[in-house]
Symmetry: C2
Subunit: 209 residues, 2 copies
């Protein structure tokens, strides 16, 4: 393998390209140049070409990129052509919003099990799934080949939930709890934290910025 040396920032941008290309496809565009793509995404054509060059040569000189082809390649690189099983931990207000979010499934992310530490919620049904107790996590993760854990418990319980996921070989964690998790180096962590987003935004909004 030679994908060892792709900068992480580049990987973070690939989904953006996937988005833009999907939209272009919907619009019926067959070919796109780095110039045009850059226009949509507000980035330089050179950056797009350089990013793509880490993975291969997808364009045609003088012409640009075939949208369908590039899209398939990028989805392949990101591992998006299969399905991913995820579990959700925490079925409070936030957790229920997450499980009802209609954006995951069409992209191949399936929440196949839900857990909660609160006994009164065990056995209730949310979005067609029965809420399971935490002690069933190990078995369920294994049986369902769950590789992603979505954490939607209160901040003060989130670290122990994350530790449990890690112990059970869940390597990808999407954390919605507003705190800074500690995870081993081999775990892929993504935080969804709107308050933090706002807190850095205000720096630029103060007085006149």
């Amino acid at each position: 393998m030679d994908s060892i040396d792709v900068p992480e920032v580049v990987v973070l941008r690939l989904p953006l390209y996937v988005r833009a290309l999907t939209q272009l496809l919907d619009e019926g565009t067959e070919v796109v140049s780095s110039q045009q793509l850059g226009g949509r995404l507000q980035m330089t054509p050179a950056q797009i070409r350089k990013d793509l060059s880490y993975f291969g040569r997808f364009g045609k000189q003088g012409r640009g990129y075939n949208v369908t082809f590039l899209l398939r390649e990028l989805r392949d690189i990101l591992g998006l052509n299969g399905e991913w099983n995820a579990c959700l931990i925490g079925v409070g207000r936030l957790g229920r919003a997450i499980i009802n979010y209609p954006g995951f499934a069409p992209e191949g992310f399936n929440i196949v099990a839900i857990f909660d530490g609160d006994d009164s919620r065990i056995g209730t049904t949310v979005a067609g799934l029965s809420v399971q107790p935490m002690r069933e996590l190990e078995e369920t993760v294994r049986a369902n080949k769950i590789s992603i854990g979505i954490v939607a418990v209160p901040a003060n319980q989130a670290q122990e939930v994350i530790d449990l996921l890690v112990k059970n070989k869940v390597r990808g964690i999407l954390n919605y709890a507003p705190f800074a998790p500690q995870v081993p180096l081999n775990i892929v962590l993504r935080n969804i934290d709107p308050v933090m987003s706002l807190q850095s935004m205000t720096f630029y909004l103060r007085d006149d910025g």
Copy 2:
């Protein structure tokens, strides 16, 4: 002013420090070193010291940082010691989840008005606020000094909503719609996009990563 030259990455990390310091304060810790803080946040002590040095000299050699003091300073730098008024556009499932999210208000972010383009929703009440039609946005934004717009409409309507916010002098936009918005340079945009987070995560989860 001399804050002109603070790298954006640094500003993006400040809220993380705010988080960690708040937690330390809760735990009763009075003084913290860059070493300890780095341990919690999984970053190097040098980076923390360098980041802070853009804004002033907050520590004491041989000792570390006074938690209360540093927290207040950082909140000041970020403009978090006052209140911020925001409006929400889109009161579908996602919008309702956002307005019911209990994390905003304690941090000084108040959603004071909600809008929707769908006539059937106008006048209904969500979380104590009456849903207003889009045409009232201009007046409401002005009257309530709204500086942040939270966008929770479907992707295909999001650009026009953002254009409208921009036209009405809303300079900060928190976008939940899964697409790549185009905004003028002076607008501060933050995207909340869990699917994109997952799509870059899977790159590292494929085969053995």
